[in-house]
Symmetry: C3
Subunit: 259 residues, 3 copies
């Protein structure tokens, strides 16, 4: 996963480096279209798909506004996976969910490209380390264990009074607004208020249709539902809810009980 | 093939699911940039490339505006291939051409993800079924045989008098307008009229250059030719015919004999 | 590498053809988003990434405005690699750097698709030849040796007086302006003038920050540096230098000594 886009030679350089070290490794692209330098979007994208991959998968994530600075490169071993990424908070959501076993700083120059640039450490350091790791090199070879790493403050939704208060966390290709509120928060709100029906407030509008799937609504009608990531999302069937509501990432969203 | 785009976590989730079940299967992306919910464009794209793939290929196509509704999921076995897709007409053009052996409804929950969402059946049902099929599970395992399926009415070109009358079926990246008229219809028109020269009419313009390849024309000149899909297309060398003609999908096209 | 884009059925057709001939070959996409017919951009993209790939890699590059004309198809064997491309200058930068062993014209119809179109030779001729080559067919099988090929005149930077004078060669996704001047030219300028400090002139502006990495600059400040391709590039940290300077490919750039 990178923010390199697909127009240039960046991705191919990385894959060439990997293929030269381990021609048999299988590369799956998550996306290379993370908005430039957007570590928050990268967090959510990785969080939403990593758990579907097989045990032993090595995740290489290069959204790296600090490239060439003294920011470290992390190699994180969890119970099921490896993650290689700059130490800039990119792994925050994933590492909150995963069982972390060991965190190392990638530092052993032996596994870097011979002529490493200071502007493309994805190609020159992270890709070769990922490839060597896939060849069976032990993770302790790549650098010393460290005890802490950068965390991105990702705001949590909260229950206040009769409402869950949260924000839009991500907007997908279909214009669905994915919030930081999950289904459990609605259960908690139900228990607290003894009510089972909800409506959602965003940008001064009230949305009453809380459905199980997009297909339950008429085309173009605003709805909310528990989406495929487990989070509450606001959608408009075969239409673009984001454009319709002129809502952006960060927009406040409230879900209140119906009385 | 999907309409998920490449910006989000959707494609990666599908591929993760597949890799977990069958890490050795080879995945080739057709495109993930089918216009959202556009089952007609999806038909033509799949139709134009599927026949180049090896025998035994499993095609997974998720353009699925009815996700979460009672629309069925199809598993079609043809003489050479397997196709998995929602039952919404997406396979119409392909199945008109292919020798269909058996059609099943994908229904056996044993092969779905344990926690299936109602908004992402591509990830939760279709991808795992494709992966299990690639592992050698027999197709009868996935669900009962069915006898009919949804067909999309894709308008055919017709010969009337001295003309073939058709429409623009698809516009490609270069702005070439691909019609629903093939070379055989011109042969039939020739036989009927005893004429061998044609011109093409679109949006009030007459195009006289019927060429064998783009390179026969001057840059920017409007031409028509039998394209790489076998269909008649309207092009403008190293230029965008669609923009030049302000023509869209569905636009009427006529080819008439020259007198 | 192609200019086919990712919206249509073109790439999938190529990959299907290849998979049918050699299902085990590994395909890595360089990019399919070369601007339509832009042989100059294609040159630089290929030049910037090819050397990272393993020995024996077969590069297939289809940016082919002359498709269907009498322009030849090349099969070039260098010390480490094979290159298949139309003979239109696309390989100029690469072949200037690589040690060329033999150049052939791809001509043997035995290795083409049975029904070859005149509008899609990437699919019908070049892809199958690449696939057969990957299966171990000897290169002499594909066609006769030839002694010359088309070269694209790619302007070189020059030292005049106290300056290196060059041009913008390529603009990447981040808006960084990559020039045709490399670090060695600055060394030469240093030797000639006995000065070690430089500034850069573009579009009437002087840029004084010559840095080692993006992270040395403040966000949004214009800088220049030796980029990951080895060429001098103009950047603006976490910002778009191209938009900021309203500069395009071909724009003149001068680097002068500071006095």
């Amino acid at each position: 996963m990178t923010d390199f886009g697909e127009d240039d030679f960046f991705i191919a350089s990385l894959k060439g480096v990997i293929a030269r070290i381990n021609p048999r490794v299988r590369i799956v692209d998550i996306t290379h279209r993370v908005p430039s330098f957007d570590v928050t979007a990268a967090n959510f994208i990785l969080f939403s798909c990593y758990k579907y991959f097989p045990s032993g998968t090595i995740f290489l994530a290069v959204i790296d506004p600090g490239v060439g600075s003294s920011r470290r490169i992390l190699l994180v071993k969890t119970k099921k996976y490896f993650f290689i990424a700059p130490d800039n908070g990119l792994l925050s959501m994933v590492l909150e969910e995963e069982k972390v076993k060991k965190i190392r700083e990638v530092a052993n120059k032996k596994y870097f490209l011979e002529f490493s640039s200071r502007t493309f450490e994805g190609r020159d350091k992270m890709a070769p380390v990922a490839a060597w790791l896939s060849k069976g090199i032990q993770s302790r070879e790549f650098g010393p264990e460290i005890s802490s790493f950068e965390k991105l403050k990702i705001e949590k939704a909260q229950i206040k009074g009769n409402e869950v208060i949260g924000r839009v966390l991500y907007i997908d290709k279909f214009g669905n607004l994915i919030t930081n509120m999950n289904a459990e928060m609605l259960d908690l709100l139900s228990q607290k208020t003894s009510k089972k029906k909800f409506f959602l407030k965003i940008k001064g509008r009230d949305i009453f249709s809380f459905v199980n799937s997009y297909s339950e609504a008429k085309k173009g009608k605003l709805i909310f539902l528990v989406g495929s990531t487990g989070m509450i999302e606001i959608a408009s069937r075969e239409d673009n809810a984001s454009q319709k509501l002129k809502a952006k990432v960060g927009e406040e969203v409230r879900i209140a009980v119906r009385v």
